[in-house]
Symmetry: D2
Subunit: 316 residues, 4 copies
């Protein structure tokens, strides 16, 4: 992800349309300033552009503090040509209820939004618009877009749940603000790229992996987690995802604290590579929280270096 | 779940409308024969009826072999008044592309279906209808319903992806059969009830739990899994779900092999209860596959009984 | 080990002869006051008297801070009719070099003592009597006794390494005091009895076990230790002892913190009983150090009680 | 341990005197043929000669199938200048009861031998010479020597328990053969040398280590054993030995299967070096049994090599 001044302008895909939280994430990611931002209709579409070499990176959602992992992203990264995460961005999630100017809240009989957004405003809806029916849309921004323009008059819903920016983009009026049931909701986005230069170590890094077990024996997951524990590595996310082979066959999407260049992470990867059917490396990158990883004294690079020098002397 | 001949007819809620795979699951569950089947617009709605005592049980999807865990169900069971699973049903998933009679496949410009179904037919769509856009609907059956009747003419899509039964229910014509990308796709449904009599032990049982960690320390999950491993208990499903408290705070939805009345399961539950902030028991019930759990000789009820008699003699 | 005032006087065997550190341990054990103390020529002999019902208890050494476990005791307790430890006593080990009155240190050409004592004064000997040869004796007290009386003139050695009390018992002169290489040396003795009433719980208890593995598979010991770890039980001693079956076949003699009446200890014993070929319970008794066992909040009896009540409610 | 034809003859120390089982072990070790064999009065003395460079190696006992670890050897190797094991020899242990010609078994009132030998013939003695008292000697061979020559007439015992060769060396008559209680008794001896060239890998190797824990926390030993388990390494011996610092402070003397040049062993050593206060490497050498170590497919050198190549590609 080097950025040289004499190269052509970069292009980044994102899960669109304009006005999505993903766009906000891409805007918030400093290296994207001055680059072309290209909305895509789906995570798959964004990653397909990236794999095809038509864009330099893609911003996609990976995890929501309320809804959990984003399956489309997890699955798209776990198969196909290798891609790696090079950065992550956290975006607080704030929903508004928006409608065409002049619409009264009392006249809202149906509400359009993405199903994940709907799940996050159910409490507010039950309390304030208990009679309203739900109309699914492709994204929160699409719900807002559907109300705007001439088509809006025939839309199957009278109000949209979307980001404030989507409402203003489309000239909608905000009927209610901050309607999310969880005020602290946040979504984590990742900037994905084709494998290339590794992001530098910052001391506050994450590494993302997908682990496929060799066979589905009892205690199999325990064996994988021990590879981290024995090297003092903390795990910050674990998602199981079906391998699609059969009911009950899962792989594990995992974030650990540390960088692939850290000795302890490297050795854990060696261990996993040996015991797993497949280990998919999805990148090492700076953690958005910026807090340095706490490393016990005997798992520092120095401790590994001293141990290796000692082993070398024994073998000489 | 006793069933006495002199009781009033039972009522079971399910995730509707008619024609969903969930209805097929409820129909396939023998004890529901002769009972009233009541469709609901959402998992939450079905479980609300159950918690309110208006129905005797609810059939809801919990896991799909391709799409993974069903978040709405996992989350609804993990909070609120206690409910328990008393049975599970596996339904093979077969999708058709259906349209109003007379519609040619070539004229299909948009396709309506539930987002989970759409994810499972993307391969077929890319190969056969690459230009078609996707219109989300509340369910696969709703997509079919949307095409039927007078409204169908104004529907935002010309074809629906749904179960064969939904197509025939609504008088639609099947344009293509078996369009799922994964021929072996299957969805697992659970029949949920209010806590009451435990289903009897069959020797081929499952127990479902939700575990909330006491604190989020390194190796925390390892500690929980060891409670199973040390008693020779196999885990057949592990899903992490956000507790919604903050990014990175997860609980674990887990299926293990065995019944709460099994000694080894009981002791593991004791261990979990002590080390977890909360353990939510979601029931013990016969596994749909019907294969007896393999128990090592030293974790049988007999082995526990002998050990307990010995301990008793030491303490006497 | 109840002690009623109207019973006949008790008799305790000990590893003699008079003047051994074992006698000091028996004297230091309050309940032996007023009882008959009976010296025996070996640990086996003392325990044989106990098993035969001829004495009420036997004081024997089990562990020395410098020399380690006392094999004769460990092996005698690990087989034969069951015996249990009911108390432990720690005795600081102080050695003197003693000789018949008038003998000069310069004239000492050979030194008699027990081999364990010899191992603990080798440094002093090398520095102060480098030319002296070593003559093994049955005990340190026997070395002193050998110098005394008429026989002493023909003894194969001119000085004995023994306890101060043995020197004074036999009218010997102390040529050098505190000649042990390790000033903090201490030996741990145990009062062994036939199984009967358990010593009461004090909160500062130990439990002694001998574990025989079911088969000698890789990771077998790990599996046993996990039975303690998963219940938060600390291990204060681990000795491996050959089962005598074949080279490399070992059992494990273990001390853990806690009493068999503690819930967490009871459950660990249940686990061991199930996974081991044999578990030999060698008693629960107050630790000599008197420091209360540190118990984590989730392994207290209360935590077990609450968990059990919860499990009972699930099963009801 | 290279052996070039033009070097001066080698000298090996052993635990003497002549006629000990240790001498038999040294004789059985092929590379000692033609070398000078030098008896020493103790294990410490033999290892002191080796450390001083006066001999090329020392044969000492380390483990007996009935009596367990040989503390003197374990402790002498665990401290002081580094030494390494380069070979091991197993010697079946056969004891005879021997006396001066003409002595009748019925006239034996006292029996001399080393305390470890005495422990191994107690059953025979109780059955055949129940009245005989025990006189400790420095070694079994010393017991035989004590009966021989002019001194024998004044010896404190009339018969010796020793190896057949010691009886014949000293012109004694065998009163009873094969008097060991355990017919399969065997002692394991090790040939110790100063650190130098490592013995070559044979595929049937052992590595001996002494591990000192960083602090004596609960589960500390578990943490060490996991370093082996996570790399599929089997442990064939574990002895705890006091560090002599205080009661309850132990180090662990361990044999594992494999050679320090094996990748899995090297990585385990790295792990131990990091988590232990000290790791003392006591050599890698061919196992006497000659049976190749069973290595699981994912812990072979090839598996490590492939994993390392993969990690290298990720980091490049």
């Amino acid at each position: 992800m080097t950025s040289t001044s004499d190269r052509a302008p970069r292009t980044y895909a994102y899960l669109g349309p304009e006005g999505t939280f993903t766009q906000m994430a891409l805007d918030a990611w400093a290296p994207s300033a001055g680059a072309t931002h290209r909305p895509c209709g789906s995570v798959d579409a964004a990653l397909a552009l990236l794999r095809a070499g038509e864009v330099d990176g893609a911003m996609v959602p990976i995890e929501n503090s309320v809804e959990g992992g984003v399956s489309a992203t997890l699955d798209a990264l776990a198969s196909g040509d290798p891609l790696v995460v090079v950065a992550e961005v956290l975006v607080p999630i704030t929903f508004v209820l928006a409608a065409r100017p002049g619409m009264a809240r009392a006249d809202v009989r149906a509400v359009g939004t993405h199903s994940h957004a709907w799940a996050q405003v159910r409490g507010w809806m039950d309390a304030n618009l208990p009679e309203a029916t739900y109309v699914p849309t492709l994204s929160t921004a699409a719900a807002a877009a559907g109300l705007a323009g001439g088509d809006g008059e025939q839309a199957a819903y009278q109000a949209a749940v979307c980001a404030p920016v989507a409402a203003s983009n489309h000239g909608l009026e905000v009927l209610a603000e901050d309607i999310g049931d969880n005020a602290a909701a946040v979504t984590r986005f990742v900037l994905v790229a084709r494998p290339g230069d590794l992001p530098e170590r910052t001391g506050a890094d994450k590494t993302t992996l997908v682990l496929f077990q060799r066979d589905d024996h009892a205690g199999g997951l325990l064996e994988l987690l021990e590879q981290f524990a024995v090297r003092g590595i903390n795990m910050s996310r674990l998602e199981s995802r079906p391998t699609k082979a059969s009911m009950g066959s899962y792989c594990f999407s995992i974030d650990i604290e540390g960088h692939v260049l850290d000795e302890r992470v490297g050795e854990a990867l060696l261990g996993l590579k040996r015991v797993c059917a497949e280990v998919r490396f999805l990148g090492s990158y700076p953690a958005a929280h910026g807090t340095a990883v706490r490393v016990t004294p005997h798992t520092t690079d120095e401790a590994f270096g001293e141990a290796r020098a000692w082993l070398h002397s024994l073998r000489a």
